[in-house]
């Protein structure tokens, strides 16, 4: 089943743009719930977004260097 992963709100910070810094996994690879799915950076901080589900990464919708906001579709998992 296809599952759309959207960028979650990070704690209490107001929505701000972040940049996709690094995808630690490739399309076709399996990721477990809670493992690092993608790493983002803001001006002076880098943080990782945990995978909300266990599944296979089908498609990276955003690429390294793209700007993203809370709620944006970032990837599709097959769960």
């Amino acid at each position: 089943m296809k599952f759309e992963v959207r960028l979650p709100a990070m704690g209490e910070d107001a929505t701000e743009e972040a940049t996709v810094a690094y995808w630690p996994i490739e399309e076709g690879e399996v990721i477990h719930e809670g493992d690092d799915l993608v790493e983002l950076t803001t001006d002076k901080a880098a943080f990782s977004v945990p995978s909300p589900k266990t599944g296979t990464l089908v498609e990276k919708v955003v690429e390294e260097g793209d700007e993203v906001e809370v709620g944006d579709l970032i990837c599709i998992l097959d769960v």
Partner: protein, 227 residues
């Protein structure tokens, strides 16, 4: 008559401090940070403040532009400066002897789940620290770090994993400032870098600055209302 004590005192937040007397290689310090992060995330360890100096090294964040390093590989070797790519925000930074590096490994769930608040908090600690030397530390809109009279005296770059922090701050006490001329620090071309030695005419001993930072850091973070 016996004094009555509260039966369950509130859980105390604590921060352990670890000081290093000799320069710690960048990779070694990084591995120690990540190991402690893992221990904290697993609930097996508490908050830690690492205070140290590095041997000469240029570090690039994930979004760094390698063109901000103005030396090639053989020139770096000649000058004895290492190069590391690291998982933090920010651009090119220099670390070396004479610069106080502080790596707080904190579980932010004990404070606030806010990266912005954490960055501002580190700046506040640094402003209080330089105030001990009668220096007016300032934040500059749009630039992180701490500035004195328009020059950057401390840099900030943090990483967050499951709300546990790593990386941190670097305060120029009395480093070899010529090494900063080999980079465009944080990609900012028109803002100078300074040190406590340049600002004060004479540098306080590193040991003293470490102690002062430790005190300011603890008093700020342990005074914050619990989450």
């Amino acid at each position: 008559m016996a004094t009555e004590f509260p039966t369950s005192p509130p859980a105390a937040r604590s921060i352990e401090t670890q000081r290093f007397d000799t320069p710690v290689p960048y990779q070694q310090a990084f591995d120690m940070q990540r190991a402690r992060c893992g221990e904290i995330e697993a609930g097996r360890a508490g908050n830690l403040l690492m205070l140290l100096e590095h041997p000469p090294v240029f570090t690039l964040g994930r979004r760094s532009d390698p063109n901000n390093i103005l030396l090639n590989a053989s020139q770096l070797r000649e000058k004895g400066i290492e190069l590391h790519y690291v998982d933090r925000g920010g651009d090119v930074t220099y670390h070396g002897p004479g610069q106080l590096v502080a790596y707080p490994i904190l579980d932010l769930s004990q404070w606030r789940l806010s990266i912005r608040w954490y960055l501002r908090s580190l700046e506040e600690v640094l402003v209080r620290l330089v105030a001990r030397y009668d220096l007016p530390g300032e934040r500059l809109d749009g630039f992180s770090g701490v500035w004195v009279r328009g020059a950057k005296v401390a840099a900030i770059g943090v990483g967050i994993h499951n709300w546990v922090t790593f990386h941190g701050i670097a305060l120029n006490v009395a480093p070899n400032m010529t090494h900063f001329t080999h980079i465009i620090p944080c990609g900012i071309t028109d803002k100078p870098v300074t040190s406590l030695r340049q600002l004060l005419g004479d540098a306080p001993p590193m040991n003293e600055v470490m102690t002062a930072f430790d005190e300011e850091f603890r008093s700020y973070f342990l005074d914050q209302p619990p989450s």
